[in-house]
Every structure is written in C-alpha cells, then in structure tokens.
Amino acid sequence: MNWKAMISGTVEWIDYRLPIFTFMNHELTEYPTPRNLSYWWNFGSLAGIALVIMIATGIMLAMQYTPHVDHAFDSVERIMRDVNSGWLLRYLHSNGGSFFFIVVYIHILRGLYYGSYKKPREILWILGVVILILMMATAFMGYVLPWGQMSFWAATVITNLFSAVPIIGEAIVTWLWGGFSVDNPTLNRFFALHYLLPFVLVGVIFVHLWALHRFGSNNPLGIDAKGPQDKIPFHPYYTIKDSFGLAVFLVVYLGFVFFAPNYMGHPDNYIPANPLSTPPHIVPEWYFLPYYAILRAIDFNFLWIVPAKLGGVILMFGSIMILFLLPWLDRSPVRSARFRPIYKWFFWLFFLDCLILGWIGANSPDGNFHGIPFLLIGQLATLYYFGHFLVVIPAISLLERPKPLPTSISQPVLQGGGATAGAGAKPMEKA
C-alpha cells in the first residue's frame, strides 16, 4: 500500500467528521490577503509567536520556581545557576516580556496610523485593547514573581492605587493582598494568575483572529479590496514574509538575551525584597512608564470632589480605556493616514507624546529639564494624550480634506504610486 494514499485517506476520513483540515486550509493557506501589505503588517503574527515563546518558557520556569516569599528569590537564582539552561529560559522569558510589548506597541501604532480600527473592524480593535489589558496585568504580576526589591515595591505601589477608590478602597486593597500588606498570599495569587492569564489571552486572541478573518486585513491604502485581483493567498506569500520578519525579530531579541540580558531590567531587582527598605526611585518596567507618568501627573485635587490620587488612577486606567472609544471618536471615513494630510502629523505628534510620557515616567517628578519641571512636562504630555483622542481626532475627522483615494488596491500598484492615482476617485470610501 502506498503511504501517500494512506495519509490522504486518513486526512479525508478525519476531515469528513471534523473539518479541521478544511478549516486550516481556508484560514491559513487560501485566506485571501491584500496584496499590498507592508512590513508593518508583520507584527500581528510576531506578537502571536512572542506569546508562544512566553508560554513555552514560562511553563518550564514554573516547574522550577517556588512562589513563597522565603524561597522565590532563591529559586530564581537556582534557575540561573543550577538548572540546566535555566539562565537561558529565564532570560528568554524576562526579555521576551519586553519584546512582546515592543511588538504589540508597533502593532497598535500601525493600527492607529492606517485606521485599522474603523468600520467594519471595531470589534477586532476592541478585542485588541482587551488583549493589551490582559497582557499588562500578566506582565505586572510576572514582574512580582522574582520577589526582588522592584518586584515587591511595584506590587505595593500598584495595588495601593486601588485604595483611591472612595469608601471601599481600603477593603479592595486588603482583598487584593489577601492580608494587610503585600505578602505571601499576594505572591501566591499573583503566581496563579500569571499562569492563568496567558491562556485567557490565547482565547481572546483566537476571537481577535476570528474577527480579523471576517473582513481580512486592512492595508496601507486603507481601501477595501475590489476583487480577487487585489488579494493573494496567505500561503505562500505571507507565510514566507512573516518567516523572514520572524528571523529578523529573533536576531534582535536573541541579541539581547545572549549579550545584554539585563539591559532592560532594573538592578534593584537583584536585591531580595525587603519590606523595611524602600528604594529611592521606584520605577516600573519600561513598557509601563508612560502610564506611570500619567498617574503621577495629577498632583492636584479636581473640583474638591476627586482627590489627586484618585484623579491620577482614573486617568491612568482611562489612558487605555479611551482606546475602546476610538472607532467612534474618529469620524473620518478614510482609514489610511496616507490620504489624511493633517491626521498624519498628529499621529506622529501622538507618538512623540508617548515617548515623552515614557521619559517622564522614568524620571523622578521633582527633577527638571533645563529648568522646566518634569512634573509640568508630564502634565502637558498627559493633557495632549487625552486631548489627542477627545479633541484632536474628532476635530480633524470633521475638518480635514482627505486626498483622493485610489479606486482599487491593484490600481496604484499598476500605476506605480497611490497618491497620484485615481483623479476620479471619491475622497470617501463607501465602507
């Protein structure tokens, strides 16, 4: 009997009963994808791979780690010193967290630039924001596990934020801690949740992909495909393009893992947690710095009703929540910033604003930059962050005159340029 026939017979037998091969073929091989995706579209699949790396290394680390305040730090050092390739697993995991965020932030910025959140992809976008929130919770709790000084004090600072909630705040904090301070019960539950949430992430990502495959990827022109000539099958075109992107990603990521594994960490986390000694500057991991700057920007009570601490907490969480509203704040029917001459500039201003917030978040608020207090810079940057979503984006979308859109994806490709193409194109895309 010949092997090929036997395998294909088995595949058919299974597929008739459970059409998983048809499904995979449909969603991963034939899946029609715009032919003009740029390298900015690599970051979605990269984020998925980053999550797989995190889960794989994380499971193996969990087999060696001890979630107890007396043993956590030592067990991490044991992984670094005595577990076979333990140092590699741990550096892959700790740097993997940073690189997961780098990839996801680029993925989000790409969505912002090319208007990927617009109709009919609003739910896709909302699921993306849910993924970001889950990632942030997972990363925060993971950072606590080594039980170093920054672990302990980050946990203390962040959980204490909930005490700003009126009336029940203190009760919430006690409930989160499982006691009256950050202690063993806190570490235990953080470990349990740090192990659980990545699998919740997998579930939400599956739904994110489901929503994505309903209409397919947006593209750099931001216009819908007009016919089969605008699309190409995912395999082999994007499987190979994503593979190339993955190889480049691995070179950079592994470059850090092998040659600068502690570059993105804080030295204080190599000091065992000590509840009696507060570090002079408590700073979160770099990917939380912009939110930290927003939190600290509010040093004044608002209208005698909202105390400063609560105000900062509301804005910090609000800085993410506001992303949920973005599809409705942006009224422009044109997706891609290529055809939005004003939005394009404000997009880069927003990007710069995020960098400034990150820089302020890394510094002590009482410092200054050439005489300008960091606090003031942080406040202005916070003001712009929210102004960008609540004022600038709605205003631009009403005032801006978009450039003419090309009539189809393949047309500008054939004519060698999108901006000049389609003199007769309507400025608005019927979505």
Binding site: R35, N36, S38, Y39, E77, M80, R81, W87, L88, Y91, I232, P236, Y237, I240, K241, S243, F244, G245, L246, A247, V248, L250, V251, V252, L254, G255, F256, V257, F258, F259, A260, P261, N262, Y263, P267, D268, Y270, I271, P280, S410, V413, L414, G416, G417
Partner: protein, 269 residues
C-alpha cells in the same frame, strides 16, 4: 526597480544591527545613583567575545576570602562552583575545608561544626542580620553574590567604590562612624575603607596595589553574579550567526516567491 520590501528589509536589518552594535560597544558613560559618573574600566568580560580572566578571578577570590569575607556573605556560591575558576578538586577541597560549617542536628539532636565540603555554600560571616548589625555599628553588610548585577555600573561601580575612599570636601560633614566615598550614593558609607595597598599577598606574585585588588575582586564578583556569562556568550555567537543565516535564506525565498507577483503588476509592491 528596487522593491519596497527590499528597502524595508534593509532598514529593518540596519536597525537590528544598530541596536546590537550599540549594546556591544557598551554605553558611553555609566551613571551611578546621585548622578556621579563612574570611571569606566576595561574588563576582560566586556563586549560580545569577552570572557573571564581565570587568573584574575582567582586573585579576586583571594581578596574576597582574606578581606571581604570577614563581613560579607557569598550565599549563592558553593565551593563546587570554584571548579569554574580552574582550580582542581584537591585545591577546592582545601579551600572548602578551611570553612567552618554548622551542620546538624546529629543523632543527639545537637548542631555541630565541621569542615566545609564541595557541596557546601560559602558560610555567612554572621548568624543572622541582627548579629551582623550588632557587630557593624547598625549597618548590615550586604551579601556580595549578586552585587555586580544589583548596582548600576556593575563591576565599574564595585571598582569605583573600593577605590573611592578619599578626604571629604571641606564643606561636607561626615557623620560619626561613616566614611566619605566619592561614588557611594550620598557619599557616606558605613564600611570603613576595606582595601589598601598590599592588603593581601597575591599567590601569583601580582603586585597587590589598591587598584589591582579592587579590579580583581570586581571581576570575581561579576563571575559570582553571572557564572553562566561565558556559556551565554559563546552559545550566543552561534545562535545569532544561525539566525542571520535563516534571515538570509528566508529573505531570498521571500524575494523568489514574490517575484511573479511583482512581475504581474509592474514593480511596486
């Protein structure tokens, strides 16, 4: 016409290499707390290919054992780990046997003291933090195992600190029992100057200047903090070369696979 893909790939690779090169060369200046610039030293373990200097690690161990160990522990280092420093088993056993280890309880339920053995860890000089504080004017001497990773500047900081004891500036008042140090955050350190010229007599005949000893012990503590540094770097070279190769292969494949598509539509992706 060159494709966008090509230029994007080129710039992506450029950034990647740029980021790596930046790391390989190290940052231009290392900042300690309080904004004091640390003098940067040359270390054998600097850079992509830099590994430990075994003779230096052995000298550093000698400084640790003869000077630092009086007050500072090295709790994550076991005597067996000294094999990394190219001591043979007899030498390590000899070093271990000089340590007094509290073991037990024995069959009578009593704790007892015995000579150190290979699997034992370097014993802590004090029974507990209270005892350490009591004998050190209230300050607990920190364990040194991870010191090179637990301070900004790492080995540079350790070297700077050990050589940074000097006369306090006229307008600076040093509290009683503390010493002035140019590189310690706040400049007042509870540790009196631990090293001075010829504090040890090196077994290999190297001149034991203050600078030399500070350098050797800083290198030794870099090893205690990151004992897998050499395994990491040597593996890293091959891993990066392999993935650069994969990058090249996937890039060539990508170009080939997309070629028919670009032919279709003229040029631009």
């Amino acid at each position: 016409m060159k494709t966008l893909a090509k230029s994007a790939a080129r710039s992506a690779t450029k950034y990647a290499l740029g980021a790596l090169c930046g790391l390989m060369l190290g940052t231009a200046s290392v900042q300690a707390a309080e904004g004091v610039k640390l003098p940067e030293q040359d270390w054998s373990f600097d850079g992509v290919l830099g590994l430990f200097d075994r003779a230096q690690l052995q000298r550093g161990l000698q400084v640790y054992r003869e000077v630092c160990a009086g007050c500072h522990g090295l709790r994550y280092i076991a005597f067996r780990n000294l094999a990394d420093l190219q001591y043979n088993e007899d030498q390590i056993k000899a070093i271990a046997s000089e340590a007094i280890i509290v073991d037990g309880p024995d069959d009578e339920g009593e704790m007892f003291e015995r000579e150190g053995r290979l699997p034992d860890y370097f014993p802590s000089p004090f029974a507990n933090d209270k005892a350490a504080a009591a004998s050190n004017n209230g300050a607990v001497p920190p364990d040194l195992s991870l010191m090179a990773k637990a301070r900004f500047g790492g080995a540079d900081y350790i070297h700077a600190l050990l050589t940074g004891y000097e006369e306090a500036p006229a307008d600076f008042e040093v509290l009683e029992g503390l010493s002035y140090n140019a590189y310690f955050p706040g400049h007042q350190i509870a540790m009196a100057q631990p090293l001075d010229d010829d504090a040890v007599e090196y077994a290999d005949g190297t001149e034991a200047s203050l600078d030399q000893m500070a350098r050797d012990v800083a290198a030794f503590l870099t090893w205690t903090a990151e004992p897998k540094l050499e395994a990491r770097k040597t593996a890293g070279i091959w891993v990066i070369l392999f993935f650069l190769f994969v990058t090249g292969v996937t890039y060539a494949s990508k170009k080939k696979i997309w070629a028919d598509l670009h032919k279709d539509d003229g040029s631009k992706e």
